[in-house]
């Protein structure tokens, strides 16, 4: 119970994480971390595959900005927990069972909007004069997309991925409520069964760490793909807000 002070909690945490059995066992932290990342990766990947084609197509044609804005706003209004609870009965009824699939659905829905909106904005926001120049050089529409718009929009697209992946890694935790063994499992287990604060902190800490590492990884990728941002103090924005009428998610 939480009546204790701070120090015993740290001691409990240390006791838990210094016991090798808690890491290596059949449902140890390493297995749970792997299972957690596996689902987070798969959900982000599927969301990317679903979101990219329409976002690239619409962004290239600079149409459908209202859809992008609508999606982003919608994503902020629907809690993943609610989606999870809604999905479970259908998953059970249609034979997808508990665990992986009912957790997968809310995660994909969580990841779609930032990927879609940032990809759209990244492409639609490329400076018009740059696109005109490419056309003047004789590029076809497809070549403009491949050689000008995608490279210029890539950093913003990666930003969308970074936001999606980080949110998904943090939210995969909910899977523990529907029997998906993940890093939410030690959190729920400690609250309901073992009342071990060390276990709680180990699960919560690992989720936070993984989310931070995901964010760091994509941030580094973003910087690699936009060297101009590194070298100048105040670079010209790749996607300007007035151009596309949209604010990218950053």
């Amino acid at each position: 119970m939480g009546a204790q002070g701070g120090a015993p909690v740290i001691a409990e945490f240390w006791d838990y994480v210094s016991d090798a059995d808690n890491w290596w066992g059949e449902s140890g932290l390493l297995f749970l971390t792997w299972n957690h990342l596996r689902l987070a990766f798969f959900a982000t990947l599927v969301a990317t595959l679903v979101a990219l084609p329409p976002a690239v197509s619409l962004g290239h044609r600079r149409k459908g900005g209202a859809v992008a804005v609508g999606l982003v706003n919608l994503s902020r209004a629907i809690p993943s927990f609610a989606v999870l609870v809604l999905v479970v009965p259908f998953s059970l009824r249609y034979g997808f069972g508990l665990g992986f699939w009912p957790t997968f659905v809310p995660l994909v829905l969580l990841a779609l909007p930032p990927i879609f909106a940032n990809t759209y904005t990244g492409l639609a926001g490329v400076d018009r004069s740059t696109v005109e120049a490419a056309r003047a050089m004789g590029m076809r529409s497809r070549e403009v997309l491949r050689s000008v718009e995608i490279p210029a929009g890539l950093p913003l697209m990666i930003t969308g991925l970074r936001i999606a992946a980080t949110q998904v890694v943090a939210t995969t935790t909910l899977g523990a409520l529907v029997a998906y063994p993940c890093l939410g499992t030690p959190i729920v287990r400690s609250l309901q069964a073992t009342r071990d604060n060390g276990e709680l902190l180990a699960g919560a800490g690992l989720v936070a760490l993984l989310a931070l590492l995901t964010d760091l990884g994509f941030s580094l990728l973003e910087r690699r793909l936009s060297p101009w941002r590194r070298s100048t103090a105040d670079p010209a924005p790749v996607a300007s807000i007035d151009e596309s009428g949209l604010t990218p998610v950053t």
């Binding site: 479970v88 943090a170 529907v178 069964a193 105040d234």
Partner: protein, 315 residues
């Protein structure tokens, strides 16, 4: 760029706020007040704050005690406190709540860290519970006749296939059996450890920890073979499921037992205690199961169900 300098701060804040949002969804501290009737004559004293947990029976019981107390002029509010008993105890300690309809054996075993003291006798169990409550400055009032224990339930198909009727029919190694239950089953002396202690049945291998609200659905879909429901759940009879008989008396006296803070008990004295005990005395297992049916199956509101019950009490 200005933005990159603060990106890390923003990232850290974002991760923590996400995490807080993900975990905070199911615990709500909102206080709700049902449509209460005009109290007869106001009674001076502290507001009675009833803590209700996040399942139907707890909501119904909370409403019943609330409406009965309001009818006699007490000032009452209902506080929803999520699904964890340690949160309830924290809420008692910080005076967020000062009244809750508890379960004698389960609360005793929670407080004594699953020592297995609870027996099948309600009065004896409540006496042991009171010894634990003394330190917390809480008082257990009279237990109701209504008992709500864990119920180990299988579908009628499973019963036909495997021929199980009682808990002693289960195979010792639990081979091929998956048990769907809330996570606390792992340490609850009337769940997995109890099955092992009394029946020598080990179900840890196929244990599927689930949110309590999903157990019945999972059982219906064959995602688990055995579901742990409440014995007062109307779902069992409604679905035609088989309740495995506790033939060697593992389960203890989980009688509905109101727990109040000493401060409230002393402030109001016998007037309140007698009233609450009168309400509890009218709650038997069949009545409670019927009330749960109206909530779970007929989807009626807890306050309407409680109002009918309280109206029948002739307070």
């Amino acid at each position: 760029m200005f933005k990159t300098r603060f990106r890390w701060l923003i990232a850290v804040l974002a991760v923590f706020s996400l995490f807080a949002a993900a975990c905070g969804d199911d615990s709500s501290d909102t206080a709700s007040t049902g449509g209460g009737d005009e109290p007869s004559a106001p009674v001076d004293g502290p507001t009675i704050k009833i803590g209700a947990q996040d399942f139907g029976e707890s909501k119904i019981l909370g409403e019943i005690y609330k409406q009965a107390l309001e009818a006699k002029g007490f000032t009452v509010e209902l506080v929803e406190i999520g699904g964890f008993r340690d949160i309830l105890l924290e809420a008692f300690a910080s005076d967020e709540v000062n009244f809750s309809a508890e379960y004698a054996a389960s609360m005793l075993e929670f407080l004594n860290e699953n020592a297995g003291e609870a027996t099948g006798d309600a009065d004896e169990t409540v006496e042991l519970l009171q010894a634990q409550l003394d330190d917390l400055e809480l008082t257990a009032l009279d237990p109701a006749p209504a008992v709500d224990t864990n119920a180990f339930v299988i579908t009628d198909e499973t019963a036909a296939d495997l021929g199980y009727e009682k808990l002693s029919d289960l195979p010792a190694d639990g081979e091929g059996l998956t048990l769907g239950a809330p996570a606390d089953c792992e340490t609850n002396p009337f769940c997995i450890p109890g099955l092992d202690r009394v029946y020598g049945v080990d179900l840890t291998g196929g244990f599927t920890p689930l949110d309590a609200g999903l157990v019945a659905d999972s059982l219906a879909a064959d995602a688990v073979n055995i579901g742990v429901l409440f014995s007062t759940s109307a779902k069992i009879a409604d679905e035609g499921w088989v309740l495995l008989e506790d033939d060697q008396n593992m389960l203890a006296a989980d009688n509905i037992t109101p727990v109040v803070s000493n401060a409230v008990a002393e402030a109001y004295g016998d007037d309140m205690v007698a009233l609450v005990n009168q309400v509890s005395a009218a709650l038997d297992t069949d009545t409670l199961t019927a009330l749960n049916k109206r909530f779970d199956i007929d989807k009626e509101d807890a306050d309407a169900i409680a109002a009918d019950f309280v109206a029948g009490l002739n307070l």
